[in-house]
Symmetry: C2
Subunit: 286 residues, 2 copies
Amino acid sequence: MVAPVSDRGFGPARHAELALLLEVAGTPKPGNVDRRRDLSDLHFEHFLTGAVGSAAGLELAESGASVGEAFEAAVAGMSRQGGGNTQFGCLLLLVPLVRAAADDDRDLTPAGATDVAESTTVADAVGFYRAFEHVDVAVGEVPEDAPDLDVRRGGDAAEALRERGVTLSDVMDLSADRDANAREWTGGFARTFRAAEAILADDGPVTDRVARAFLDLLAEEPDTLVATNHGEAVARDVMARAADISDPDEAEELAEAFVAEGINPGTTADIACAATFVALERGVPL
Amino acid sequence: MVAPVSDRGFGPARHAELALLLEVAGTPKPGNVDRRRDLSDLHFEHFLTGAVGSAAGLELAESGASVGEAFEAAVAGMSRQGGGNTQFGCLLLLVPLVRAAADDDRDLTPAGATDVAESTTVADAVGFYRAFEHVDVAVGEVPEDAPDLDVRRGGDAAEALRERGVTLSDVMDLSADRDANAREWTGGFARTFRAAEAILADDGPVTDRVARAFLDLLAEEPDTLVATNHGEAVARDVMARAADISDPDEAEELAEAFVAEGINPGTTADIACAATFVALERGVPL
């Protein structure tokens, strides 16, 4: 007999790639590209291409490469399509989670993911900065006290990072007040793991579970990408409108409204994607 | 500087995986799962999972494994989801095309693909038969003159294949009268390459181009999966109804009608998928 190929399951990198695909397919996810909706210059196919493109970087993470190297590779691969930034934020969450799942001495738990985050180095921070050279990412104000650490400098910030001894974990600490993804890094990926449990406890197709988890996350905290692009008041209004939804028709209406208004709660989608990865690792049935 | 990760493009295996995703996303593809439609027990997410699952087998094909081994591995990986047979036929076309694209001494042309097909061995035929053990595939009548070569026997047919010296190319020859995918193997993948050129010459999102190519293919020949499941007359009627479509609304109506009637022109989707792979290799923009 040949090797039992049917016994080879999905490793963490494949689960992460699949999470990228299931997340974008989940509908309705008001304001985001989903199975039923494109944005004007950002199409479903850009996300499919971004997911496949990021796979090599995710495999680096699974095989033990540093978080910064794996993240930069994933973002570089993701960027090989014309839609621009499709999954930068998702990958920022997925890479440490893949490492936690893959490492022999860690588990995919808040403690395991925190351990990955806190083990990052200055070199990881440099990799993170370099990732910004591959794609345009919406970012907030330059930190006033540290203009040499502006992420828009990309790899040019390497010297400043090294001089100040700033690790990737430090970078996330500096961003946590304005970026919900950074808060996942510094807070044990709390919303990610909670949403994963909701996905596991839900029923029906996984893409439907992901869409429901997205709406719950959106109703729970202001989306920080919306806050960056439109201000804190709009982000709070978006949260309130998501909290008002009481049936699927209203969710569809909100999806139409947000697309029309140019409201893109992308950070919430990132967390939904990371939660999908955790749910896949924990055996959500497909 | 680190290695220029941004310069790593998509290899043939990644393009094949992406073709599986773009094909299923293309809509409307009347009678098939697409971005807007599920079938009752076969959902979009099963195709996403099947595509990611098949990637390891496609990578085997890219790295020079035998066609039979790579195909069996791809099908085994594809089958790790609850929808059943999502992409068996696609993979039967993609694996030799990936080999033609990857091999140094071959090109992704009708001649190169034919060379791969004609170079297959009895061991490749055994791998093909074993693939049927991983998933239920709709097949036609048992060949009356060769009941020991019934594909439903899976790996149990290995002895008969070896005794008769039947290569995978021979198996395709035996099936070519009732399976359009086998006809691609024996006929230089003619429809695949023609549809690829149509996709390249078209404009707009690739998923839209794929859907149009699917309709053109469906209007051109009876779908052999429809013929297997419903008879030749129904397959000819399906072809005629596809040929009658003159605008996108009619295509949407046909999609609704075929789903309601249980008509699934899956072989035509397989060829559209293979054509998408060739178009990706030839640089269709994403």
